[in-house]
């Protein structure tokens, strides 16, 4: 896609909206490559608008156009088309501050991704796209404050794990209704790869809605069609139009339990894994308002780990914990039964990859802002059993290598399966006494608030490296759904066992679905959990469930009596 942009001279701003309308109406559909049959209104903008990765004075804008009825997602059909875009300070576009033109085609599935620059920092903007006489819905977005600014707060909606087949995205709808957020942090599993009947609602995997295409996504066309389906969900469309997203992927954006060279849900019959992942990444790059390889260009690289800053208040390091990791350790016991497999602590194994870990260590070390937030797709807090002090385990392992360093984990797909990376990261934090490190996590379809012990066996007598807040799933099944038991019955037993053996886990809810709101001020970071009603109900209500916070410098979480709003 070629992209041009230009600033709008101040004196032309007020006249610009009308002029643009007249000009584009005159050029009409033909010059834009839009085909519509007489008497039949063709919808060019069927997938909404979105924005993402807010930075000081710039933000990524996104849409997808359907220039002709046959130019369906993944079809490879439809002509190339010029798409105009504009950014204004007001919803009626009387104060347009930036505009430009981008060309898109079937080669990129007719998606449009713009890095809108030279905007005012810490400012709400409105944006829209136009193809001929067709105008997109208006989106609203926000630019981050300058590095030298001292914002009073940063408030993010926090979500993960949205399986369309498992229910309606009411969590998104309730977030979209709020007017107090700055952005949405999506921690992965934005979409799922499964075909109908493979992973749905509850123990019986009932499809509340069925995936398109009607099979597991494997080809590029599959991935594009699935993205397109999700982008047509009204709740997700509303949230995208309302706030900029900051996203990372977990495994299902490619396929279940993916690692660097394979995945649990990839079989040889599905072809070369690397090629499949490249297709998935390509579609992700096309369909999400995200900077990959540091740019809004599509296809110039797939590096997803990146850093965003919000004045002196906070920086956010977004991780990619799938692309570079070693294969999960095979366990002799099925998850979630704890395993004593010592390979989880093998220093040669990594969840981040060396380059990403070095980048993260550097980002934390150099950090100028107060809060060091980490967008972390899988849990970093150890959740283990039968722990021994590291002062005892390390010498034993130096000789024998027979013990997992932080105890027997119940889930080796998390950082618990790669404990040496965690050890290095936590040691780095301790050696430099880095303060106010907060991991924000998804993946596990449950709500957690945890301290991060340097030595789990001796905690709380030993130090904490920071805290972790884990959001629940938007719709994906959790423990009660899997066991088929009523809420707050069997889950309470499991939660009790985990917390009794992991004193740093202060809050745990295995039963609910919903969203979270993170509010960061100079004094504290607070996470509020909201739960939704039945996922089958497209109008499910939401209610506040719990709030936990960490005071600056404290490195531990405490309960809070009420949400920030």
């Amino acid at each position: 896609m070629t992209q041009t942009s230009r600033p709008v001279p101040r004196r032309t701003i007020l006249a610009s909206a009308g002029a643009l309308t007249a000009a584009t109406a005159a050029s009409a559909a033909a010059s834009a490559g839009v085909a519509a049959k007489p008497g039949q209104e063709h919808r060019v903008f069927q997938h909404g608008v979105a924005s993402g990765d807010p930075r000081p004075g710039r933000v990524v804008l996104w849409t997808r156009v359907t220039p002709s009825p046959d130019a369906t997602p993944g079809s490879g059909r439809g002509s190339a088309v010029d798409v105009e875009w504009e950014v204004a300070l007001d919803e009626r576009f009387r104060k347009v501050v930036r505009r430009g033109t981008a060309r898109t085609s079937a080669a990129r599935d007719h998606t449009v991704k713009i890095d809108a620059t030279r905007l005012a920092p810490d400012t709400w903007h409105f944006y829209r796209f136009r193809v001929g006489r067709h105008v997109s819905p208006v989106g609203r977005t926000w630019t981050a404050p300058r590095a030298t600014a001292s914002p009073d707060n940063l408030r993010l909606g926090v979500v993960s794990c949205a399986n369309l087949q498992a229910g309606h995205f009411s969590a998104y709808r309730h977030l979209a209704k709020r007017d107090d957020l700055h952005a949405i942090l999506h921690l992965g599993d934005y979409l799922y790869e499964y075909g109908p009947g493979q992973y749905g609602y509850g123990q019986s995997d009932v499809d509340v809605r069925s995936h398109v295409p009607a099979h597991e996504m494997v080809s590029l066309a599959d991935y594009r069609q699935r993205h397109a389906q999700y982008k047509q969900d009204p709740d997700l469309q509303a949230l995208h139009a309302r706030y900029p997203f900051i996203v990372t992927w977990d495994d299902h954006e490619v396929t279940n339990d993916q690692w660097a060279e394979g995945a649990q849900n990839h079989q040889a019959a599905e072809g070369d894994y690397a090629a499949r992942r490249a297709r998935a990444h390509r579609a992700y790059d096309e369909w999400l308002p995200v900077l990959m390889e540091g740019t809004a260009q599509v296809g110039d690289g797939t590096r997803l780990f990146r850093e965003l800053t919000f004045g002196k208040l906070a920086q956010l390091s977004m991780l990619d914990l799938r692309t570079h990791r070693d294969e999960q350790v095979p366990t002799t016991t099925p998850s979630p039964v704890p395993t004593l497999e010592a390979r989880v602590s093998d220093p040669e194994r990594t969840i981040t990859g060396r380059a990403q870990l070095d980048w993260l260590l550097g980002a934390l070390r150099r950090a100028r802002p107060q809060w060091k937030l980490v967008g972390n797709p899988v849990m970093i807090a150890p959740v283990t059993f039968a722990q021994l002090p590291t002062d005892l385990v390390d010498p034993v392992n130096d000789v024998t290598g027979i013990l997992p360093r932080d105890g027997a984990p119940y889930n080796v797909d998390q950082w618990d399966g790669y404990t040496d990376d965690r050890r290095e990261l936590f040691t780095h934090i301790r050696d430099r006494r880095l303060r106010d490190v907060v991991f924000l996590t998804g993946d596990i379809h449950s709500a957690w608030a945890c301290d991060l012990p340097q030595d789990i066996a001796t905690y709380p007598l030993s130090e904490s490296a920071g805290v972790e807040f884990v959001c629940s799933s938007v719709t994906s099944n959790n423990l009660k759904d899997i066991t088929g038991t009523p809420a707050r019955t069997s889950s309470l037993v499991v939660e009790g066992i985990i917390q009794a053996n992991n004193r740093h886990v202060k809050y745990l809810n295995f039963d609910d679905h919903g969203f979270s709101v993170l509010d960061v001020t100079a004094a504290r970071a607070q996470m509020d959990w909201f739960v939704i009603g039945d996922r089958r109900d497209p109008a499910a209500p939401a209610s506040w469930s719990a709030s936990w916070a960490t005071a600056s410098g404290a490195n531990h979480v405490v309960p809070v009596a009420k949400p920030v709003a």
Binding site: S150, G311, K312, L313, A314, R368, P369, Q370, W371, T427, R430, D431, R432, R433, R435, D436, T458, L461, S462, E463, T521, A522, A523, A551, S552, G553, A554, N555
Partner: protein, 423 residues
């Protein structure tokens, strides 16, 4: 009109609790500030205190004071995270390459000895104390440690010589320091008082329960010092000074504890190297070692590279730096040719393994976080607020000059005022 003194004079007062306190004053100094100089600023240094130690349970008065004003939860000591350089940075507002005071302990090339920077002439930069005096304000120093008393010398209008001194620690207990503070407050009521309370640091250094995270001695000191902070606040309010006052509470560095087996001794390693043997002197600063090349100038660069390589290969070392190339260090020529930091939970012991037996140490990056907050009743002090900007010890002098309306000195400050801008 205030009475003036025509020579440095000494007075002995009965301090609170019946303790005798001897204060000295500069020749010609006014016994009390001029009546039109209403502002009062107090810098209370809780030596070695960690920000996470100020809790409502352990330090209720200090915690309440912090909540009442403008807290900087993200505050830092500046390398080298030691007592003397950070107190100097508080009062000068400039980094060690400008003040000449990079560490507690340095190698004095002219004398050929490792010594503390405790002489008034060691401090090359002008302090805010002197700047205030020049502008007609009065000042006072109440510093519990002998070397602080030494380096700040007679710069203040009024000063207290720490006494009684605890053997080995070289400091006066906080009860005596606070008695002197209150006595000076009552007798001279200076515009600026610079107070160091040393118990928290000294108990931390010697707390053998520190490495196992019990910190029994330390916690007792924290509770005790908190009482002294409370006495000070009560006295200010009783004297009717609160509404005119800015109270800056901070630490110079924090504290980290090491086990007996987590000790680094670099001197034997450098002495085993053919190039370096006998030509490197180390000034041990607990969590930081300063290495000085004493050999031929022509071999300086090679020696620096070799010292860094040896240090980086030593277990427990976090990092080793050539200050000429590590621009953020700014330790200057006095601070050695190589600066080495240890990891958390370790300490240096040079020149020999038995040279530094104490478990509590600082100087390394793990001891960077400090408490830092502004309190007091002056209208310029925000109430119940927090700021995300990183505050540093070096910000104290700019804050004071902002408060007193002095403006920046020649060459400017390296720090910045933490008071909200005047409207």
């Amino acid at each position: 009109m205030s009475a003036t003194l025509d020579r440095r004079s000494f007075i002995t007062l009965a301090g609170a609790g019946g303790l005798a306190v001897t204060l000295s004053s500069a020749p010609g100094a006014a016994a009390r500030p001029a009546a039109d100089r209403l502002q009062r600023a107090y810098v209370l240094v809780l030596d070695g205190c960690r920000p996470d130690e100020i809790t409502p349970l352990l330090m209720p008065r200090t915690s309440a004071l912090r909540s009442s004003g403008l807290n900087h939860p993200y505050a830092s000591s500046v390398p080298i995270m030691e007592t003397i350089p950070n107190h100097v940075m508080m009062m000068t507002g400039v980094r060690p390459d400008r003040s000449g005071v990079p560490a507690n302990s340095v190698y004095d090339r002219s004398l050929g000895v490792v010594r503390d920077l405790d002489k008034p002439s060691d401090l090359k930069a002008r302090t805010v104390i002197e700047r205030l005096s020049r502008d007609g304000f009065t000042t006072g120093t109440v510093l519990s440690k002998e070397y602080l008393y030494g380096i700040f010398g007679t710069r203040a209008t009024h000063r207290w010589e720490p006494a009684p001194i605890v053997p080995v620690s070289g400091h006066a207990p906080d009860a005596f320091t606070m008695a002197a503070t209150l006595a000076m407050l009552e007798q001279h009521d200076p515009n600026l008082m610079f107070v160091n309370l040393g118990d928290i640091d000294r108990m931390g250094h010697s707390d053998v329960t520190g490495p196992v995270d019990l910190r029994l001695l330390r916690q007792a000191a924290l509770a005790s010092t908190d009482l002294q902070v409370g006495r000070f606040v009560d006295a200010l309010k009783a004297a009717g000074r609160w509404s005119q006052s800015l109270v800056i509470v901070l630490a110079d560095h924090s504290m980290d504890w090491s086990r007996p087996d987590a000790v680094i001794s670099l001197q034997p390693a450098v002495d085993a190297d053919p190039l370096l043997a006998g030509k490197v002197v180390i000034a041990d600063n607990g969590g930081a070692d300063l290495l000085y090349w004493t050999g031929a100038a022509a071999q300086h660069d090679a020696a620096v590279a070799r010292m860094i390589a040896i240090a980086q290969a030593t277990p427990g070392v976090l990092s080793a730096h050539d200050p000429r190339r590590t621009t953020w260090l700014r330790t200057g020529p006095v601070g050695g040719d190589v600066v080495v930091f240890c990891r958390a939970g370790w300490r240096f012991s040079d020149p020999a393994l038995h040279s530094n037996p104490i478990p509590g140490n600082h100087g390394h990056p793990a001891t960077k976080p400090i408490p830092f907050f502004l309190a007091g009743g002056h209208p310029r002090v925000p109430r119940g607020a927090s700021a995300s900007a990183e505050a540093r010890t070096i910000d104290v002098a700019p804050t004071l000059t902002d408060f007193f309306g002095l403006g920046a000195p020649k060459g400017g400050y390296d720090g910045q005022s933490r008071l909200p801008r005047r409207r």
